[in-house]
Amino acid sequence: MHATDVLSYAYLAVGVIVMFGPVLWLVASSFKTPAGLLEFPPTFLPYSQQTVEVPGYDEPLPLFEVTLEDGTTERLAQIRRVGLQAQMVDPDDPDERITVGLDQREAIRELRLATENYTVPLERFNFLTYLRNSVVVTVVATLITLVVNSMAAFALSKYKFRGRNAVFLLIIGTLMIPISVILVPVYLVITQVGWVNNLWGVIIPGAATPTGVFLLRQYMLTIPDQLLDAGRIDGASEWRLYWQIVLPLSAPAMAVLAIFSVMWRWNDFLWPLIVLTRSELFTLQVGLNAFQGELNVQWHYVLAMTVLTLLPITLVFAFLQRFITTGIASSGVKQ
């Protein structure tokens, strides 16, 4: 019994490292200078070599601690490297050059957060615009998804009418058809409606999700019909039965669909990538992809902007994690 406990905790400890480690590594790396990022082997903390401004040189020069022939040490700045030797200069006495072997010196490093990684690229990576677009798409799409799907689920679970099973089967039949299979014709529809480069073109096509209808219908079937009959006797309209009786009672299922919808929409990539070509309409995911494509080698900016992109969802998760994990778990049991 004891051995399995130890094994369990060992597995979980490794899990924490494997699951959180990569993101932590990203966050730590995003505070390194370009020179710090090139260091190999890499360090976790954002150490970087100290540099010093020397009169007569345009760029700041890297500082080294050099052991001289007579055994004393001195702080010198490097001008250039030539083979196994380096030309160095004393920052206080910039006219005299000293040639030093590479094995006689050691880089002087300091711990410094390169916050300019975050401030500089914001001119090109329009974080606030992308964030706004992502939030608009996620919130509006989720609201529409909830209303439209709950209405359909209400009809399919609380009325008996000819064609009900046909409609239900038609919807369920497309449960597994992703938008990636019908990309070309959906794009045609979007151009006809004039929704290319329009957030509605991202929001609407995925709003009538078969998963949502299925999930809500199954839940609403468990609500007794007598409640509705009582409401009808009291003279309530069908619309009021829907939103004042059935909707509040379906809150748990609606919450699960809301979680799913937020996750789908926030992370959606392929469809926005096709619909949106103007950068002021980009969502965070599309914007980040475009940014990393443009600046393939400028990792220090890409890393910082990746951290910005994962920040909002991480904050939401930090506050709602129990709600989210139990919600999704409950959807699995009902399958």
């Binding site: 990309l183 990539f269 980040l288």
Partner: protein, 340 residues
């Protein structure tokens, strides 16, 4: 003194949200309630169905039908009236091979590479994903402390967008990255993971498992927790050890959940695109090009947009997904009858 005002403040957002919902619903009611007087209670079902069916019809059903039209027409025009009918030419294009096991012998060799890559990817991804999700769920189901915390740890990557996940790992796998740093500490030569065909596919599989396993773990964990504890107690009284209990109680009762997870993972794996697209771009060469990316490249990303080819590849993908769905129905029915 501030107790009362604080509760009021806490309730405020909820009250506002509720008020907003009620207001919107009431206004919508002004439009919908007169219809009920017009057509009667019975036909109101169609009114409730209408918005969903409208979106569903325009953006799912109609495109599904149109997809076939595109698959049987050629040219590079998007508008249907400008597309000449070419019969089965698009399908011939992607299905003509002298040797089906050798992608380079096919006319559309990229498509076949994508098919083979997807096959390899799906097989290893699904097996690995279900295995790790199952092990993790079993560990989390044991009597451990901080279960909620650990559950969240495994779930966290699920919330990260595929683009972010891809960049996180691209950074770790690059030449000067963390992984090569670890190899260096053991005195090994650095490896260009994403520039080597086999390594690239390996890491595509690992990273997609990393990103998705938390979701499947949750579903399996919920299944495990719904198994009544009395069953295990009874088994213990009967003298069966943990291995026997697992074999005869856990496994059969968890089977429906395992099948759900298996099929969900399968369907998602067949549709995989974004994470791999950002991580490797389908490369090196076409070593990690998957089917959806092929459709995207042929239909949208390339200079000449060959919508017909993209559509016929989509039809192929649709057939694969249909088979996967039928498999699920078959399996879930089988497991239920097995339990009964």
């Amino acid at each position: 003194m501030n107790g009362a005002s604080r509760t009021k403040l806490n309730e405020l957002p909820g009250k506002i949200a509720f008020g907003a919902v009620a207001a919107v619903m009431t206004v919508l009611g002004w439009a919908i309630e007169p219809i009920q007087r017009l057509i009667g209670v019975r036909r109101m079902a169609w009114v409730f169905l209408l918005p969903n069916l409208a979106i569903f019809g325009v953006f799912i059903l109609f495109p599904m039908a149109m997809n076939f039209y595109y698959a049987f027409t050629g040219g590079t025009q998007l508008y249907p009236q400008n597309r000449p009918f070419v019969g089965t030419q698009n399908f011939e294009q992607i299905y003509t091979c002298t040797n089906y096991l050798e992608p380079s012998s096919c006319r559309e060799d990229l498509f076949w590479r994508a098919v083979f890559n997807s096959g390899t990817f799906v097989a290893f991804h699904v097996v690995g994903l279900v295995f790790f999700a199952l092990v993790t769920a079993l560990v989390l189901n044991a009597k451990i402390r901080f279960r909620g915390f650990f559950r969240s740890v495994y779930f966290y990557p699920v919330l990260l967008s595929p683009v972010v996940v891809a960049l996180v790992w691209k950074w770790i796998l690059q030449r000067n990255g963390l992984l090569n740093g670890i190899l260096d500490a053991f005195g090994r030569e650095p490896i260009l993971f994403l520039l080597n065909s086999e390594w690239a596919m390996f890491w595509v599989i690992v990273v997609t498992i990393w990103a998705n396993m938390g979701f499947h773990t949750l579903i399996l964990l919920a299944g495990l927790q719904s198994i009544p504890a009395e069953l295990y107690e009874a088994a213990q009284i009967d003298g069966s050890g943990p291995v026997l209990s697992f074999r005869h109680i856990t496994l059969p009762l968890l089977m429906p959940n395992v099948i759900v997870v298996l099929v969900l993972a399968l369907i998602r794996a067949v549709q995989m695109f974004d994470l791999v697209y950002v991580l490797t771009g389908g490369g090196p060469g076409s070593a990690t090009l998957l089917m959806v990316q092929y459709i995207y490249e042929v239909g949208f990303a390339s200079q000449i947009q060959r919508f017909g080819l993209a559509a016929s590849a989509s039809v192929t993908l649709g057939v694969v997904l249909l088979i996967a769905t039928l498999l699920q129905l078959r399996l879930s029915r089988g497991s239920e009858s097995h339990l009964a």
